[in-house]
Subunit: 367 residues, 2 copies
């Protein structure tokens, strides 16, 4: 029996990214503790948080580089790209830690969200003031630390300075895009479902910046530029990365409503309880034609006390409007589009194979 | 009559820093709006926020550079250092926007704090969900944007890459230090006044990282390294910057309790209402010997509903314990120490004059 290989394990990438992150965090954590031993909970929490990462962005960054250089790089250059790729995981940690606080999420990666973890520490120590505010402050600051460490780690990758400077343009744009995308996401929740067509449009913009570009296209671009790639590769990575990134996010949206808690590490129907304005939900609202269904959708979406029966009812409505089928069809079409672009891309053959495997992983995953 | 010149106006530094920030924000704001017109409130809010800045950190960074190079730099190099120095104002904006949210502050620089501004926009538009949570999300994200733009602006200063790389070590340490200092500050509030001696110790550590290093020593170091300065200058800037930075923060603490709202742009006694564990307050708690005074201090410090009479009562206690006199004596001694270090520093004569003026400005200010 053939055990399917996780594409991120090829050339031991996952192990090498983990090692780079560990070495960086060891050194940064020691510097924090030298300032004050009371800072120790910050690096400890961050290390445990990073352990659960899927390493999607480092994976795309590394294979974006290999697409240009193949296996022609020196060992030292390989070390440099792994270091740079690993730094993207710190950006992702920052985004998740801050998003979880904004969304009032309880858990992440099967563990308490960072703001909940520090609020619990406050309660256990019976400190003064509000445990919630303490948890919020710790999460905001740890996210800030991740953001600045991401940049520090990226800048210290050891590759030639002109390559890093060229890649930085994409690195910078990526960071602004993910924050802008998150703001638009928060704004979309505030606008609600009153105009379903506009809600669907908004959801598309959020997907583009917060997911498609941030998760796939920009990491590929950063890798390509670190390898000295040209405009043709950049264009090919956009043609592959944008549809794939959109499919990746649509899969996320489906999992947020229909996912198995045992696999996702989040409660069933978490996105429903949170009132997330995803394309899936916006389509369901736009298509629902029974007044009862529309009423339930508006009333129950974003109800923090939604129970199992309530989740099941909303799942049924979303399924019966045809919105789920539509989104699945869209995921399949976007994945096909990405694979066709990949076939035509002017890149290394092995990178092409692995990027094809990553496309499957990004869109067929259960978590 | 001689009108005293603000040292930040010498060589039109303030105007040049403002111009560099404006040009950078114009370009970044346009990029945001190109992603979605709904992002427009972010750059607008940031621009108004930056207008009120004291430009302390850009000032120390620039004069740290002039200390090494004097007036020997080319016009292009001058443009580079102003660009790099201006970037520090974005780090400060990020820290203030996030701190104000953590501290639940209503105002900053005489205007509503960023989280209040966006909460008000949510209410006015009658959007769905909690206005407070929307304001929080907008403030967290705008602070994140400032943090990443700070780094982008710093990296794009146009000075020789090896100089920027050398300065980056200090730039990186500075960013981690200010975040660590803020975490220790939040932790100090959580620990409260139960052990006044430890509270005073904690306040000292917070002052060191959150203020002395961040506001004065590190900006000087960044400027010195951008100018190719050596170890002797770095050491001299520490000898001058650390005591001055401590004095600067102690002045801030005094203003937070005794400052004139018309000058500070914050309500009178704001730090008392917030329960800020400053050295001033910790000393007052450690020295108070009347049981009534100790009881009032513990009960009223951090009471968000403290009225004018309550503020006046706490001010009287802090004054009568001798804590205010002690802190004023300490500010004077630290300022003298900084000036003595400055006299001995191996730096350009004009820079020495201006850094002396900045020492007065940092410690004798009313806001």
């Amino acid at each position: 029996m053939v055990v399917p290989v996780n594409p991120l394990d090829r050339h031991s990438l996952r192990t090498r990214v983990d090692a780079a992150l560990s070495a960086f965090l060891d050194s940064q954590g020691a510097a924090l503790i030298a300032m004050s031993p009371e800072l120790a909970p910050l690096p400890t929490a961050l290390r445990e948080f990073l352990d659960g990462g899927k390493l999607m962005r480092p994976g795309f960054c590394y294979w974006g580089w290999r697409g240009v250089l193949g296996d022609s790089a020196t060992a030292q250059e390989e070390e440099g790209i792994v270091h740079a790729a690993a730094s993207l995981e710190l950006l992702q940690a920052s985004a998740l830690i801050h998003d979880d606080y904004m969304d009032d999420s309880d858990t992440r990666r099967g563990m308490p969200a960072i703001h909940r973890r520090f609020a619990a520490a406050h309660r256990e120590a019976a400190w003064e003031g509000s445990d919630e505010r303490f948890g919020a402050a710790a999460a905001i600051l740890l996210g800030d630390v991740c953001l600045t460490w991401c940049d520090e780690m990226f800048a210290g990758n050891g590759l030639p300075a002109e390559r890093t400077a060229a890649a930085r343009r994409y690195f910078d744009v990526m960071r602004t895009e993910v924050m802008a995308g998150q703001y638009l996401d928060v704004l979309a929740q505030a606008h609600g479902l009153d105009e379903p067509e506009r809600a669907a449009q908004r959801a598309q913009t959020v997907i583009r910046f917060k997911s498609a570009k941030y998760t796939i296209e920009r990491p590929l671009h950063v890798g390509a530029m670190l390898a000295g790639g040209g405009k043709d590769v950049i264009a090919a990575y956009s043609a592959y990365g944008l549809p794939l990134g959109e499919a990746f996010q649509l899969r996320d949206d489906v999992l947020g409503v229909f996912g198995d808690p045992a696999a996702t590490g989040k409660p069933a129907g978490d996105d429903l309880r949170e009132g997330k304005q995803t394309l899936l939900v916006a389509l369901a609202a736009a298509r629902a034609d029974s007044p009862a269904a529309i009423k339930t959708l508006r009333a129950e979406l974003g109800n923090p006390d939604l129970d199992t029966a309530g989740v099941a009812e909303l799942q049924d409505i979303i399924r019966s409007t045809g919105a789920l089928d539509d989104v699945e069809t869209r995921i399949a079409a976007l994945t096909d589009q990405a694979r066709a672009a990949l076939d035509a891309a002017p890149i290394d053959a092995e990178a092409k194979t692995v990027l094809g495997e990553l496309a499957v992983m990004a869109t067929a995953r259960k978590k």
